[in-house]
């Protein structure tokens, strides 16, 4: 049983190797082999990956519009027999899954966070009610799904364990820009930041903009990751790229220090894969309390100096 994994290439090797490594153990667990369809607006580098045995297609787009990518995948699937198609996590993965499913006339589920093989098909779970509940779907093959799997899905990343070798790309014809696109220009680049094993996350309990800036400055100077809940960014106190949670980054640091975070499920989705969570919140009854490993029930203003002094010894 072979599946087709669809991945967006953003110009960095990690944009391809990271989702592949995440999916690889699951494929092994469920007895799938995989082909790879990578698309993007830049020519690919040489990617070194371990245990990848399938075919690797690369298609360059002038503009990777979801509808055109979906059509390209349809054409590829028409030439091969796949048990299903998985769109790897990225901004337009859900839209792509919907459009591919429509073109292929397959069933689809978007935003899948876990899956397991059952006799009748794949049992897929995804969050609903703003991450307060989990819904399970039975997805019969052939299927399309978009994944939002945890970074540690399936345990060890077996792709990295094999002897690294270059992927041999099977280049598909370049796709021109769609007629509706009149102009395109780059406004900002390099938005992503290097990941750190320590995350400082700030919520609405941090009551002053200067305090948010202070925590961000400390994190940046010491090589720690920094993020905020959506309402903090929406106040204009932080950039939209700092947002953590359902609407932003999903992280899996070793240690998260949650400052002024209430623990709303939509935010918590972004840190729940943390190895350890310390929360600092004045309200001991806040939802974050039972979702943390350790809790300091105090005003963050009384704690920050001591916290910074301590963490400075562990700068990255």
């Amino acid at each position: 049983m072979k599946i087709l994994v669809v991945i967006y290439y953003d110009g960095s090797a990690e944009s391809v190797t990271r989702p592949l490594a995440k999916l690889s153990p699951l494929q092994a667990e469920m007895g799938f082999s995989a082909d790879l369809y990578v698309y993007g607006e830049k020519d690919p580098d040489n990617f070194q990956i371990g245990n990848f045995e399938g075919r690797a297609y690369f298609q360059r787009f002038e503009v990777a519009a979801a509808e055109w990518v979906a059509e390209a995948v349809r054409a590829l699937v028409a030439r091969n027999q796949y048990y299903g198609v998985i769109a790897a996590d990225q901004e337009q993965a859900s839209a792509l899954a919907v459009l591919m499913a429509n073109k292929l006339d397959y069933d689809f589920v978007t935003g899948v966070v876990s899956m397991r093989k059952e006799k009748e098909g794949l049992l897929c779970e995804r969050p609903v009610y703003n991450n307060n509940l989990s819904a399970s779907y039975l997805l019969r093959h052939p299927f399309v799904l978009s994944e939002k799997l945890p970074k540690n899905a399936g345990g060890a990343t077996s792709l990295q364990a094999g002897t690294p070798r270059n992927i041999v790309w099977d280049y598909l014809e370049k796709v021109p820009a769609p007629a509706w696109l009149l102009e395109k220009s780059l406004i900002e680049e390099n938005l992503s930041r290097p990941e750190s094993p320590v995350l400082l996350a700030v919520g609405m309990g941090v009551s002053k903009r200067e305090d948010v800036n202070r925590i961000r400055d400390f994190a940046e100077k010491n090589g720690f990751d920094f993020g905020v809940s959506r309402p903090v960014a929406m106040r204009g106190w932080s950039g939209i790229n700092d947002i953590i949670g359902v609407s932003g980054r999903i992280l899996a640091p070793e240690i998260t220090i949650a400052i002024g975070i209430s623990g709303a499920a939509a935010f918590y989705a972004g840190i729940e894969q943390s190895g350890y969570i310390l929360s600092i919140n004045t309200d001991p009854d806040a939802a974050i309390t039972e979702r943390s490993d350790a809790v300091i029930a105090d005003d963050y203003n009384n704690v920050l100096d001591g916290l910074f002094e301590l963490l400075s010894d562990y700068k990255r």
């Binding site: 110009g11 901004e91 839209a95 919907v98 779907y137 509706w180 220009s185 680049e189 209430s262 979702r291």
Partner: protein
């Protein structure tokens, strides 16, 4: 030039206590006790549309919601803010909750009756959180889809200028109309508040009703199970305060974690 924004008012799940969350029969959850809020992405979309109107006086703004009675106060607010049409398409929420295709078909049916140049949709909304409605609306209207839009600087004649996030970049594109724009984490997040005078002036304006058909066939999968998720951790609350609490936590658990990095 016609611009329509679809929006949803939903329970404020940030106010939800775990003890209040129980899955009832028919996989439904009672949320009537929660305050209502505008879905955050839709709120951005509604305000972005108002700003486009300020830049282009010819733009005619409409807002539509596929839902129930929760949305009526927002529809009145939008009329006060200058929206020409505030439309409700009443449906049985339980039928539409996990069927993004039904919502998208209702939006496409309205677009067929009153064709629009630009359709703005938030990228995701509870209860279903499928992120599938915009792509389905694009399919059913035949309009091209532009995802992860964070700003709409301008709309002129036959084209709209949008800024969108692509992986680790922000790009600006000028797209021919008509199209569907999916609003993500937009730069603009709050819908302005109408003045009392705005409200008085719009008293004569009426909410319009568009009858979306409940019997629209749903082709999306229905969940086989709905359940709460346990996220319990140790939750050890330090008995200390201030810097002493930091040292207490450090000794108890943090030191070992930091040391292992």
């Amino acid at each position: 030039m016609k611009i329509i924004t679809a929006f949803k008012v939903c329970p404020d799940f940030d106010k939800l206590k775990k003890s209040d969350l129980t899955v009832e029969e028919e996989m439904s959850v009672d949320t009537h006790f929660l305050p209502n809020v505008l879905n955050c992405y839709d709120e951005s979309a509604l305000e972005l549309a108002l700003r486009l109107k300020e830049k282009n006086a010819e733009a005619e703004l409409s807002a539509i919601t596929v839902g129930g009675k929760r949305e009526e106060p927002t529809l009145n607010t939008l009329l006060a803010l200058g929206y020409c049409h505030a439309v409700k398409a009443p449906v049985d929420e339980k039928l539409f909750r996990f069927h993004p295709d039904r919502t998208a078909r209702a939006l496409a049916a309205y677009n067929e009756a009153c064709p629009q140049d630009l359709i703005l949709l938030g990228q995701e909304a509870p209860l279903g959180n499928s992120s599938a409605v915009p792509a389905l609306a694009s399919l059913y209207t035949g309009y091209p889809l532009i995802t992860s839009v964070i700003d709409i600087p301008d709309i002129r004649e036959e084209a709209v200028t949008l800024r969108a996030v692509r992986a680790n970049e922000v790009i600006e594109i000028r797209a021919a109309l008509p199209c569907v724009a999916v609003i993500g984490n937009a730069v603009i997040s709050k819908l302005r508040v109408p003045t009392l005078r705005d409200r008085m002036k719009s008293r004569e304006k009426k909410i319009e009703t568009f009858q979306a058909e409940d019997e629209i066939a749903g082709s999306s999968l229905t969940p086989v199970k709905l359940e709460t998720v346990s996220r319990l951790r140790a939750g050890r609350v330090s008995a200390q305060k201030g810097c002493e609490a930091i040292m207490d936590v450090y000794r108890e658990s943090l030191k070992e974690r930091l040391g292992a990095l």
